[in-house]
Structure formats: C-alpha cells, structure tokens
Amino acid sequence: MTFVAKPRVHHPLLPTNEIGLTRRDYEGLVSTLCAGCGHDSVSAAIVQACAELAIPPHLFAKVSGIGCSSKTPSYFLGNSHGFNSVHGRMPSVATGANLANRELYCIGVSGDGDSASIGIGQFAHIVRRRINMLYIVDNNGTYGLTKGQFSATNDKGSTSKKGVPNLYEPIDLVSMALQIGASFVARSFSGDKTQLVPLIKAGLLHRGFAFIDVISPCVAFNNHNGSTKSYDYLRTRGASVVTADFIAAGEEITADYAPGEVETVHMPDGSQLRLRKLDTSYDPHNRAHALEHVLEAQQEGEVVTGLLYVDPDASDCHEILDTVETPLNALGEEELCPGSDALERINASFR
C-alpha cells in the first residue's frame, strides 16, 4: 500500500483519444493493494483499454463483490458509476444494473473466492442468463485478504507458501463458462498486457456475456515455487492459442498477416477482432473443441490463454427477454407505470 498519491502531472506527450481525454483521465484512486499485486496490472489494462476505446468514463458501470479483486474498481475509472456489493453477489447487482440501463458498459470484477466459492451459484446463473457485460475474475488461487488459504481455483498438488500441498480438485471457471453458454470466453495473465488489453476491449464491445479469467499472481501469498499461479509459472507454462488483435472502427489495418493465419470477427460497433491462431488446429468457434483443449492442457499442467471461444452472433439477455430498447431511466412515468387498467389487461391475459 502506498501513502504517496500518484501526481496528476503527466508526460508532456501523453496522447489524447478521440474525445480529448488521456489515459490518466481513466484512472482511479491510488491502489491500496500490496505492491506488485497482479490485480493492479489488470486495473491498468482496463484503464488502457477504456481510454483506447474512447468511451466517456460516465458510460461505465463497474460492479464488484468482496475481496482484493473487488476493491480494484476504486482504482480505475474514477469518473464512472460503481457499486461494491455483497460477497459473491456481484452478478445480482450487475444483472439489475444492466436491465435498468442497457446503454452502460458494465464491467464486473470478481475474484476466485468471490466467484468460485461463495458466489459460484450466482456466477453460474449470470453466465446462463447472458447478461450483456464483461465479467473479469482476478484469479490468484488464494485468499490473500485472509492471509493465504487455498481458494477453490487452486490446483491440486500446488503448495502453500509454507509448502503444504492442496488436497482438493480445482474449479476451472473457464470450463464452467464454456459449458453453461458464455458467448465470449478468454483467459489471460496480468503480466501480459499486449494480450490482455485487446481482450478487454473486445469483451467490452461483445454483445452478450463476456468472461475473462485473468491469472493474477498474489505476490504476498501465492508467488512461490510450488504455486501454479505465480509470475514464473505463467511465464514458463502459459500457452497462448489464439491472440486477438483489436482494430477500432475506421482504423487502418497496418499489420501484415500470412494468408489463412487470420480470421476477422466483426464487432457490433463496426470494429474488428483479428484472431491469430498460434495452434492451427484450434477452432475458437467450437465450444466442445475449446472445452476439450482446455481440459487436455490442464492435465499437462499448461495454462491455455487467449480468446478461447467467441460466438459473435450470440444473443443477450435483453434479446431473450425482449426488453424495451430505451433505458429505464429515460422512460417517462406513464410508460413505467401504465396504471391499473394495463395491469388488469396483463392479468386477464394469464387467465
């Protein structure tokens, strides 16, 4: 934790985006997490992604539960809407927020404890309901805030800082998300912003439920030799299968790709996602194939990263429920409360 606030002064050549803001305008308060926490890098990646997308900060809604991860919304997008909710109950709040105002970009930040333990029920259901949001799990495999007990995502056989091995099977949130119907599933590493930032941008613009499991090392309790969620482990055993280059709407495409190497996914706002398969046999549009690959790699002790599955044509909760196009806060009193005659008619229709 730091007592010195980050000075407002910035590099004289810091670029501004299309709406005249710099990256610094997307920052939040200075982090109170441990120095070197992977979560801070995730926050920095969110800041960079949002600045590059040039979305006005007040159009974001950031929601979180409880835990180190769930503190982080204070540390990015200082000028947006935020709700730090109850442990494991971020999905409920996110659902409400998204149903009430569908024009906001909803970012949920949770942790392995918040999503895979106390909140696993809520997690499963927000996935299947396809809430239009970006759901990020800062996954460090440990309960850092309570001094380093194994979390539910900690791999069996991985050891604690003192060398005690974990006896239980891990919950893999990526596999769960794939199985229950998420239409955008990715895994990344807090120490690799070149991979993470485009994924966050794509996840924000994806219509439907976008899930990113970010392995984010806990420097205080889970960054040792016996850990499978340490900086070193990810750097030696992390394997990217599909990288996603994000190309904003109207941006000139300058990169050179070998033919057949790249597949373009068109995003709802006109931007493009260029998927580069590093493993040519991998198919990021086949849910079963993706799941199989993830499970196989897990057996080998490898951590598969990249955009693992995407369905650009998926529907979201608003489409499923056929909700009104206008955000609720923009509707008038008559539309929101059409009176007892209308209620009578609705009730009559069920008789």
Binding site: M1, T2, F3, V4, A5, K6, P7, R8, V9, H10, H11, P12, L13, L14, R24, V30, S31, C34, A35, G36, C37, G38, D40, S41, S43, A44, S190, G191, K193, P217, V219, N223, Y231, D232, R235
Partner: protein, 595 residues
Amino acid sequence: MKATDIRDPSYFHKVVDCQWACPAHTPVPEYIRLIAEERYTEAFMINWESNVFPGILGRTCDRPCEPACRRVRTEEKPVAICRLKRVAADHKGDIGPYLPTVPKRKNGKRIAMLGAGPASLAVARDLLPFGYEIDMFDRDPAGGGMMRSQIPAFRLPADVLEEEVDIILDMGVNARFGYEITSMKDMLDMDYDAYFVGTGAPRGRDLDLPGRQEVDAHISIGIDWLSSVAFGHTTSISGKVIVMGGGNTAMDCCRTSKRVGAESVTVVVRSAFEVMKASEWEKEEAMDENIPIVNNRPPKEFVHENGKLKGVVFECVTPVRDESSGRLRYVPTGEPDVYMECDHILMAIGQENHCPWIERDIGLEFDKWDCPVLDEVTLQSTHPKVFFGGDSAFGPENIIWASAHAHQAAISIHLLCQGKDLKADRPPEGVNLISQKMGVHEWSYDAEHDPAKRFIVPHAEKRRALGNIKVEVELGFDRALGFKEAQRCLNCDVQTVFTEGLCIECDACVDICPMDCITFTSNGEETDLRERLTAPADNAEQDLYVSQTLPTGRVMVKDEDVCLHCGLCAERCPTAAWDMQKSVVHIPQLGTYSG
C-alpha cells in the same frame, strides 16, 4: 543497447540537470533540501564549498542551472535555484565553525594572485588551508574585481560583497591592493612558485563610426563608467542617455543611469530582442523600470555640433534566419534611417581580454584572439608556472565560471608545487549511491510531487528603488516563501536504481509511473528502443537507463527525461528491485581529497 554502468560518475550526475549544467557543479538539490529544513548555514556551506560566493551568486549568477531544470521539461517554470541560494545566504547563522583552518606554519610555497576578482579569490581560498602563502595584487583599492566595480549596488549590496570577499581575505591573504601590475616579467622575477592570472576581461569594446573622435567627451565605455560609479568617482549623469548594447552590462548601465539623474534612458540594440545577450530577468527588470529597449537598429553615425553630441543615426534592419546555418542575418528594411537625440552615450557592446602588461617574449603564448594559449583541463599556460582563470582565460563568461576555473587551477598549482604530473596525478571524479529508504513507506526525502507554480520574488517599492542606487531591487524570498519554493525541487539527485536480480517483472512500476518513464521490452539499438517505449523518448540529450537482460529475455528501459523522482516505482515494487538512492557526485576539489 548495453546495460547502463551506473558506477560511471557522470551517469547519474547528468540526471541532476542543474548540477550538471553548473560550471562549478554545485549540488543543488542537496542544498535546496537543507533550505526546506531551515538549515540555512549548512545550505550556505555546501554552496560556499563549490561556488565560493553564495550570497553574491544568489543575486548575480547567470543561472545556467535554471533552463536545465527538469521542471521546465514537465511543462513548467524552473525552480528558482538562484534565489534559493540567496535564501541560504540571507538566513544563515555563524559559519565560523565550518570554515577550514588555515595552518599557522606555512608549507614554504609562495603563490602570486594577479587580480583580486572572483577567480583569484577562489584559488586563494582553495590553497590557503594547505599552507600556501598567497600574495594578491590588484590595481583597485579593494578586493572583489568586477563583482565590485561592474555590478551596481542595487543588484549586489556592498555589505554582501564585502562579507564574502572578506571571508577569504581573512583566511590570511597578503593583499597588495592599489598595485598596478605593469610587467609580467617583473612579476616572474619575484620568483613565486606559481602565478595565477585572474585579471578578467577589462577592456570594453568601442565603435569606430563617423563622428566618434569629435564626441569623445560624451561617450563612456560601459564597464569603465560602472566602475567609476561604484568607486564614487561619478555620481551623476544628465540629459538624454543612449545605452548601446544588449548584454547584462547594458542593462546595468541603463538602470544605473536612471538612478543617477538621467532625464531619459533608451537602450538601443543592433540585434533582435530574443538573441540579446542579457539574461531574461535582467531585460525584464529594465523594462519594468520603464526603460525602452529598441531592437534591430545598428548605429551609423554620431551627430555632433560644435564638438557637442546631438544624437545618433541608426539603420533599420530586420532579422532573417539563414536556412543553412540557422543563424540570424540582418537585412535593411528599406525604411529611412532613424535619428535619436542624446546627450550621452554608454557603450556596452562587449568586452575582451587585454593583457598589455604581459610581454610577448617570456614564453607565454597568445592565440589570434589575444587569449592566452591554455590547457583546458589544467589551465596551465605555455609558461609552466603561470595559470589563468575566470574571464582572462577564455574570454568573458561569468562569476560561476570563475569559481569553476579556480578549483581546477588550484588543483594544478598544488600538483605543480608537489612536483606531480598535472594530468596523470589529477584526482578522478567519483560517485556514491546511498539508499534513502527509512522504513516500509518512508523515504529520507520529501518524495511527494508539489504541483505549485514558481513563486514570485518580492521587490522594493519602485519609487524608492529608482531614487537611490544603493536600494536593492530584489528583496529575496523570506523563510516561508523560501520553503515553498524549495518544495518545488524534484530531488533529481535521489536516483531510481534498478537491481535486475530482484525483479519479478510484475509491471507494478510501469503501471504506477506518472510520467510513463519505464518500459519492459526486448532490447535493441538506441534509436529503435527510443521509439518503442511506453512514452516517446525523443529527447536524445537525456539518457536511457537500460538493465541487464531479465529472465523473460526482456530488458528494463527507463527514460530519464521527465522522471519526477517521486519514488512511486520503488514504493510499488514488491521486491525492492527499485530503490531510491542519493547519488553524491565527487567533483575533485582541493580539500575534498587527500592530494
């Protein structure tokens, strides 16, 4: 790029831009911190050790440090370094206990100082604690040289000057003032062990234009006139005065004229306003006293009637930038010449070395500009016993250069008297790095960035200032303002030191750095690397700090250019791979090493 060698004394010295730019390499951030702690005496002594005349320089220095200040590059005005120096001098306590002791028993070597200006005084100060016997000759009745004769009292009060000159004279200088040196040969016959020539650049330039001879009685050479005012020989000037020239002497001449009775004063400069030699603040203060500065007007002719000056005819030109050389060229505008009435002209168009008293057949060579042929490092002339420093060495500079030359000359004289080699036995520069970490989140320096703008220094009431030449215009910062201004210093001498072996490449430093100085990337050539950093590093004058290769095959690259030295990288580093360490640069000086 190769990994940076931070043990090279010049690497971190360059990061301390002010100290690097100062000819005497005064450790500026160190004394500014002491001012913030209200330890004025210690702050004064740090200055005294390296630049010798803190109170004088705190009022008159040319301030090469200020344009170099990092704060300029973070899009602001520099720290008021010069005025802070004055704060130290104005508020200091008894410096007596800190002064070096001068041995009663001399070492048997006699050194002659020719001239009693800043250069000679500083050499004397360096040599006296080593037991040298110093004889100092000057034609003026008192010591101080141009500091006394050419800087008017409203910029440098006599008591400030005398205090700092006397500190040195009281160390045991045998002052031979009022002594006109007429022959170097005679001086050499006196058989001193070494000679230091610090006689300045005492000849003011003149202009040979039509009418010059006829109006001789109404033209004064600027520095001579200032000197005559300083010693009380001239107490007034009357009528309309034109000052010709655009340097600091011209500014001193016009402001002095205004104070001793001129009806009107106008400064006329041959060149454009932007390229005038005078310091920015000197120009501002002259204009603030309602003295017009007329630019792009080269003089053509002195107009006279019956031997009396009537005025000057000036040509009208305009500056044009020469594409190839980038220099300004002046071309006539075609407008008719301008005639300006005047009764007196002060000529301040430059000054030059002039040593007519040095015979040219005694083995002491001069170059085609009439400057002595010197070794740039040792300041030794072609006569092994004779050394030069200050303006008499390489032409007119300023006081701070005199101090810088003096330290080098003193080392040379000391080596010469010990029979050592002036170059091979010269002490090397060195650097110490000392961690400033005091606790988990505590640093020994005030790391937090202060966004305050440069504070304005209070001035004496204008009417009072213009009415009396002895009233000092700038009043200096009081303690409270001095503290506030001191807090603006970025502590550039507290360095970000990186230890590769400890880094886990977590990116925490990259994320927290407010100025985007830090990048982890694959290595490359410098030009290539500069383009690939988090923020563009297009100021090639500022170094890149490159680490050894890290476990991921990348290197850490830090652009030193706009680093605030706020310590957040070290604060957010989980493994203390970053540490804030004070770099103490050891600039060799007599007395700071055992020679």
